[in-house]
Symmetry: C2
Subunit: 139 residues, 2 copies
DNA sequence: CTTAATTGTAACCGACACAATTACAATAAG
DNA sequence: CTTATTGTAATTGTGTCGGTTACAATTAAG
């Protein structure tokens, strides 16, 4: 299991998009948690980076809650991915033998490879919007 | 830490490519393990899928060992990645509430997204050969 | 045939990541 | 002041996985 945060964040945003379309104003983390089958604190933890990325807006206090910050047409999967996932998709072993020429240059070489992979991934995700996903799911 | 197998498998193949170029015939897992700073059994576990993918050839018994099966020019990073990594790069939460329309269609939708991501990744990796990596590392 | 060196593999261990929970402080509305 | 919310710190339970040990199977050499 690599990272469940991406799919869960996506699911949160899909729900917020629907609720927004239905005219709801704010949705509580309690409400989202029930929909996702989890607990409010976990939802709130996922919401923090989404809010920092400007994808949702959160409001504290009584009558607080969260709502989607933009039209689903203006939110790409790349933005969601980058907000939800903070680690790289691959990494090298640390304990490699530096006296071997391969081991010595391994770190920098592999960093370059991973960068290329990440870049390819992000380019792909950039072309997909939340609205595309809504359409595909017939929502 | 996502998956150290990709980088380690790559490192194994880089070593085997160099040893092959130096005229060595077979390299033992013991030998590789020392170069990588790990133990022979771990190396052998990584070699199995590489052998199944036809990237290396292993030989049992006394005087046994492993060698690279093809020219580094003919080995792509995609092949190495697919041999070394068997899990998907992302997955969905299992316990999603099916009574919610988003939750109900989440699984299939997300599967499609992950497939697209994997595909983009593989396309990128396909354009890079082991020889490219050797060149870049000045080996 | 025996011995030695290897791969193949099963079983296990320990550490760490991370989903999930609990609890409580901070905030804001009424 | 009370109540409902977000924010967040602390904790826990557990699954994953890198790594190790051990041993069977295999093969060459003497």
């Amino acid at each position: 299991m690599v990272d469940v945060r991406f799919s869960t964040s996506l699911q949160i945003l899909l729900n917020l998009a629907l609720r927004d379309r239905e005219g709801d104003d704010l949705v509580t983390s309690q409400d989202l948690a029930q929909t996702l089958g989890t607990n409010p604190a976990f939802v709130r933890k996922l919401l923090i980076p989404l809010a920092q990325a400007g994808l949702v807006e959160t409001f504290k206090g009584k009558t607080g809650g969260v709502k989607i910050a933009r039209s689903p047409k203006k939110i790409t999967l790349r933005e969601i991915y980058e907000a939800a996932v903070d680690k790289n998709i691959a990494c090298a072993r640390e304990t490699t033998n530096k006296s071997c020429p391969v081991g010595a240059s391994m770190k920098s070489v592999f960093t370059g490879i991973v960068d290329g992979m990440e870049s390819a991934l992000r380019t792909h995700l950039q072309s997909k919007t939340l609205q595309h996903v809504l359409n595909q799911a017939k929502l």
